[in-house]
Structure formats: C-alpha cells, structure tokens
Symmetry: C2
Subunit: 192 residues, 2 copies
C-alpha cells in the first residue's frame, strides 16, 4: 500500500534500497472511514497528509453554508497553513468522502529524516515547489476564469471527481450555486 | 539596498559574517523603470524575483481584458511556475508600476549556494513554505469570500496598495467590474 508514496518519491529522485527501507518503516499510515474527519474546524493540526487511497474534501462553513475549497485524491499532498503555524486552529474541515488511507507527516519527522539523509531535504523542497505551483495554476484560474471555464478545467484535469462527489460540492468549489451548475451543464451538453 | 534581502533571511535564520558576505556578493540586482516589464507574456522566464523596492503588477490578458492577478511590493517573492517548468512560456505580464529594484534568483544559482552552504537549502524550503501558505490563504479567500470581503481584507493587509495602483486594477484583482468597486466603496463609506 505505502509503495504509492515510494513510487511518488521515485518520480522525483532515485532511492537506494536502504533509503526505501527507512522511508517505508518510518511511514505512519492512517485509515479513516468514509464520513469521518482528518481535521475539524477549531482543531490544532500540525500534520501533513499524503493520500494513498480515497478522497478527502476540504470545506469551510461560511455563514452556515458548506463551501468546498479542495478535493484531495490518490497521490496528492494535503499541506496546510496550520501545519506550520501551530498557534492557529484550523478554519476548515478535512472530511473523508470515501474510506481513505493517508500517510501522516510532520515537521519533526521530516527533520529526523533530513538528519539521516540530508538530500531528502532537496526532495522535500521539490515536492513543496510542485504542490505550490499546482496551487498557483488553480489560483490564477480562480481569478481569471469564469465558472464555466473552471468547470471545464476540472472536468478535463480530474474527471473522476465528478463520479465521486455530489454535484453540490462541485458547485461550491467552482464558485456557483447548484442551480447555476445545472445551467452550465445544460448549456455545455447543448453545445455538444 | 540589498540589505533588505539579508534582513529577510535574518528573520528566518542566523547568518555568519562570511555567509552574509557571500550572499551579498552573489546577489544580482536589477533596476527596472516604471512602465517597464520584468516578464512579458510569451517569454520563457526561469528567474525568481525578490522585490527590494517598488511595485510589480502581475496581470493576464483575457479576451483582451487586463486582469490583475497579483501585486508584489517590498520584501515579497515573485515565484512562478514558469521559473521551474522551462518549457512553458509565461501566460502573464510582470509590469513595474513604480521604479522597481529586484534581486534575481534562479535554480542554478540556488544550487551553487546550497553546495557552499547546505543549510541554506533549509532556509530556502522555509521561504517556499511561507510563500506557499500566504498564497493558500489568498486562495481560500478567493473561494469563500465575497468581493466586498476581499476588498476589506486587502485594505487591512495591504493599505498602501490603494495609494499605489489605479482603482481599475484593484477591481479586477478582487474580481469585480470597476463600477461594482465604486458601489462597494460607497456602501462601506455609508456604513462608516
């Protein structure tokens, strides 16, 4: 199971058998049932998660409305501000939409690994860069794209999401009301 | 002048006089006049910039409309996807709204520094994390806040921006038409 994370590392860097063994042994795997939470609003979370299997929905309650801010699926990192600024309680929920398995990481664990294998710090920096730049793309899309374009981009980049979460969550994620999402879908299906 | 970057590093880590000297000597400083560009759409940019002085506006042309996606001012990093994925030409402009001075960095230069001072890689990772998390906050605000809240947040976090750029750019940045920005301002001034 945890080979997904090893495979992820192997896309970025080479690993010796020793390094693979240490990494594998040091991994803390957590299984979370569908409907349960990795993090709840108000909790102090200092962990980072790598999704091995399943789907995690990040959302906020804004004036009582549930607004989805992200979907995390296989081979994605969930890194949050709160992980590093420990004084700040989480202002969002991380809910498992499916039975989910994650690897748990944190700064202390990372530092221990860096001491043993200094070059992992380079790998860590590269991962951070990748995650950062993916987010930058998403962010630019939020500023410049209309909901219809965001819908199409999500459909193209992550078609599986549409089979795995309710329409309501897709609607709030692309920033429209559910009825507007229906209109977008209708319009697009008419266009062919 | 370049002490602003040294001071920035000193907030994150301690530096020996030797390290300060090497860093200072290795810095490439670029002065760009008001109205000129650091990067234009279509260019292949592999540099990262640290703003010492001035104001850089990032914008895209969407169907001929100029949409501001970021403002960078003193002590901010401009890191972009294109810096690391060299195959991709820039899809945005970085325009200097004021006479601007930046320190230029790139991956090759970073690698040379890391060889000489391995612990700078930790510092680099920490900077990346900070920039990443600032962006995460901004991103969450884009998904969950209404334009009026984005206006208020920008006013609170970066009041100087309002004196330094045209209203039009503030409007596209918070995602509204200029006339809607006027309405927001009027509404807020009536509220007191």
């Amino acid at each position: 199971m945890n080979n997904k994370l090893i495979n992820y590392f192997l896309k970025i860097t080479s690993l010796t058998p020793d390094e693979i063994e240490v990494l594998t042994e040091s991994m803390i795997i957590k299984k979370v049932s569908k409907g349960s939470f990795l993090v709840k609003e108000g909790q102090f979370n200092t962990d980072t998660f790598f999704v091995l299997d399943g789907l995690v929905r990040q959302y906020k309650l804004i004036d009582g409305n549930d607004i989805t801010t992200n979907f995390y699926t296989e081979e994605q990192w969930i890194m949050s501000l709160e992980s590093f600024e420990k004084e700040t309680p989480s202002d969002y929920f991380l809910a498992c939409v499916e039975d989910t398995t994650v690897v748990i990481g944190n700064e202390q664990k990372a530092q221990e690994l860096f001491k043993q294998f200094p070059r992992f710090e380079t790998t860590s920096r590269q991962i951070m860069e990748t995650v950062f730049f993916e987010q930058q793309k998403l962010m630019a899309s939020y500023i410049t794209d209309k909901p219809e374009q965001r819908y199409l981009k999500l459909l193209k980049a992550r078609p599986d999401i549409f089979q795995r979460v309710p329409q309501y969550d897709i609607a709030t994620y692309i920033g429209v009301k559910p009825e507007s999402l229906s209109r977008i879908r209708k319009k697009l299906s008419e266009k062919g």
